[in-house]
Symmetry: C2
Subunit: 197 residues, 2 copies
């Protein structure tokens, strides 16, 4: 057993500053990715954009791939906040199937901006389905299917609806095949409505 | 313009021998994978099993990953033969949706035996959806959906039905989550029937 240690005032401020700086850097990184694409983002570029030294960026994220992972965690958490606690139709209050459709559309928006980072995370077979973000998404979809009263093997149906949203496939359809993101979103909604009616 | 060159008898025999030896090696490799699992198959083990020298195996396939790729091509082609020209319900003659269900079940059988090799091929984002085997499967599913008179964006529906059959997901469900292959096959059939009714 150890005693709880109350943070002293200065220490707490320092932690708050660190957290705020980290969030500022991640917001700057998100804007950069949206503007010039994930492949073009460098540690130098982020430092310049955020108005900090390159050393700060490296100290915070370790490496470019550490930055990309932190950025993905950050945006996944924002989406989770939105579907768990935000306004309908994504958040609570709307019809569960409408919430499911809104969830798929929001994920496709995320792929459009951060697809490369998401794809890199998917192409590690060990991590792909055990990543915390995947588990949260899976649980959310399963809960919505149950709440909607859909019958059948809902665990498998949840996987069947989540896999077409994976970045590797969506980027192929969007970039290589020239399908618009609007078409992909409508197609996913159609699959959901057919599978749950 | 070049003249056609008739093969001389000896040459043709040699080519037939090479093709037959290659097929014998691939059949032996297939049995080995089914018996001890793809991860445990070595070039030495295959040579011993097929009763040839190790040099022959290396000359034929170049490397262990070359062997695995050749094995996957071999079994994908066997499955293609079966669904294009074989007996119903997989081949022509049956109801198109029944053929689609049989196709999914046959692919899941393939994943059960050669999943690791298929998963390795999937985890190359450049090759995943441009591989010839993927294109043949996609065209087959799309043709069956059209023949069945299903309405909607059938290209996207074909992707939506193919992605839950990918080895990376199926191996996770089968090995990590302990779902039986029978359950996965029934769940996929259920998704197909819902999406096409």
């Amino acid at each position: 057993m150890t005693d709880f240690v109350l943070p002293i005032a200065g220490e707490e401020t320092e932690r708050c500053d660190a957290a705020r700086n980290r969030r500022l850097l991640l917001d700057a990184a998100k804007e950069l990715v949206a503007t010039i694409g994930a492949d073009a983002v460098t540690m130098d570029g982020l430092a310049a954009r955020a108005g900090v030294g390159k050393g700060t960026v490296f100290r915070r994220f370790g490496s470019r791939s550490g930055l990309m992972q932190a950025l993905l965690d950050h945006t996944e958490k924002e989406l989770q906040q939105a579907f768990l606690f935000g306004p309908p139709p994504l958040g609570p209050g709307a019809d569960p199937i409408d919430r499911l459709v809104a969830f798929g559309r929001a994920r496709l928006d995320l792929v459009e901006v951060q697809g490369e980072v998401m794809r890199a995370a998917e192409n590690s077979p060990e991590l792909r389905y055990s990543a915390p973000a995947h588990m949260v998404n899976y649980t959310h979809v399963l809960t919505l299917l149950r709440t909607a009263g859909v019958e059948g093997d809902l665990e498998l149906l949840a996987y069947g609806l989540l896999t077409p949203l994976e970045a590797t496939l969506v980027l192929h359809q969007f970039r290589d095949l020239g399908m618009t993101m609007g078409r992909l979103a409508d197609g996913w909604e159609d699959l959901v409505r057919r599978a749950t009616r």
